[in-house]
Symmetry: C2
Subunit: 233 residues, 2 copies
């Protein structure tokens, strides 16, 4: 089986957005849409003649604002988000093991993969996994703010994501090096941060990164917890 | 059916490269790879555990150099190119109606779609068409240099590409506006240059564009006619 999503990119925040098309070629979901691209993304749905069933978020982002609320308003889709992310206005609150159905046969399984944030999830669909900022290609998301935990991220990746079949295609939430897709097997064998590293060593590595505070975090997280809509809207 | 390629992007020349994976998940072809990304593209093949059967070109590009020769050397793939593009070192010279087979069941049909260049082709695979610089999303390639012809491009698009089923997903060779994929049906109904325009009107429009000469053309075309390898190599 070889079903891929449509992968879209935001140059400013290096964020990937994904459109997953059901096997009826009519119904779709979108994962992690970016506010400034709502017109681009609606145009893609129109060109491909797709009806949006769900807008999914992998977590409450700190580096960009979502268009989930706007797309929901404009398409009639439902917003489905991880229950642990404080995104109150979404009608579907997802927990580990939940299944999202769209089209006549398609289903997406929810994996709770905390670590980048406590609520972060990954989505599994037809041999693909969308890992948000939990697992990146040859890397992983930071764990030093917003309820992050290197120990939780290690357990999520090693215990849950690396347990998926090796051929599972892995689509990250960001990439900063022009990379687009990997596989679980490759990441399990070669990931620069996680392969051949104990949980303790990984904790030391992550604590030493000393990353700057994301510029937009104080604005973006509250905005994203409101699906990107103005508060009070 | 909903099989998509992996779509890769070159920011400098806004060029799309595509990896098409056969249904055995082992064999692949790559379309229009870009010289400066040969390592990125090899890494994608390695991560996805794919064996490259063919490197395909849609035409001899004027705005970037191909990595076709390099990828052929490093992977053992064959280079397959349009017969009318003067790319002599390629072992497979393609003509209209030819079929390229890879994996146990996959086949790509060659459509000769002259206009951007006299030799340009499009490739049809599993409900997708890769149109190179013939048809772009809501636009088309220029026709004012390198054996281009607005009349030929009009006939290629209206007569051949728009004759494909409406739901065919259309993947262009470039995009300059953050767009990624369209469909033949949408382009037939809405394309800003071609919809509701006669061949004569289209010729007037294209003649009036007055585009600057591509900066790299004098270097890129001869390089691409040698698969991007140094001459004499």
């Amino acid at each position: 089986m070889n079903i891929n999503p449509v992968q879209l990119f935001d140059v400013e925040s290096s964020t990937f957005t994904y459109i997953l098309v059901a096997d009826d070629n009519e119904s779709a979901v979108i994962i992690d849409p970016v506010e400034r691209h709502w017109e681009r993304d609606l145009a893609h749905l129109e060109r491909l003649d797709l009806k949006l069933a769900y807008v999914l978020e992998t977590h409450a982002h700190a580096d960009h604002v979502t268009s989930a609320g706007k797309l929901r308003e404009l398409t009639g889709a439902q917003a489905a988000v991880p229950s642990g992310c404080g995104i109150a206005p979404a009608e579907v609150q997802l927990n580990d093991g939940d299944v999202i159905r769209f089209g006549p046969h398609d289903q997406i399984e929810v994996l709770h993969t905390p670590g980048h944030t406590a609520g972060s999830v990954s989505y599994v669909w037809r041999g693909n996994v969308f890992t948000g900022d939990t697992l990146l290609i040859d890397g992983c998301g930071r764990t030093d703010f917003q309820s992050g935990s290197s120990a939780a991220l290690f357990d999520s990746v090693v215990g849950k994501l690396f347990a998926l079949p090796d051929a599972t295609r892995m689509w990250p939430g960001h990439d900063y090096k022009g990379q687009s897709v990997s596989t679980i097997g490759w990441e399990r064998r070669h990931n620069a941060r996680l392969t051949n590293r104990s949980k303790e060593d990984f904790g030391v590595l992550m604590a030493a990164l000393n990353l700057p505070k994301p510029k937009l975090i104080d604005m973006a997280v509250p905005a994203n917890q409101n699906l990107g809509l103005p508060h009070g809207a």
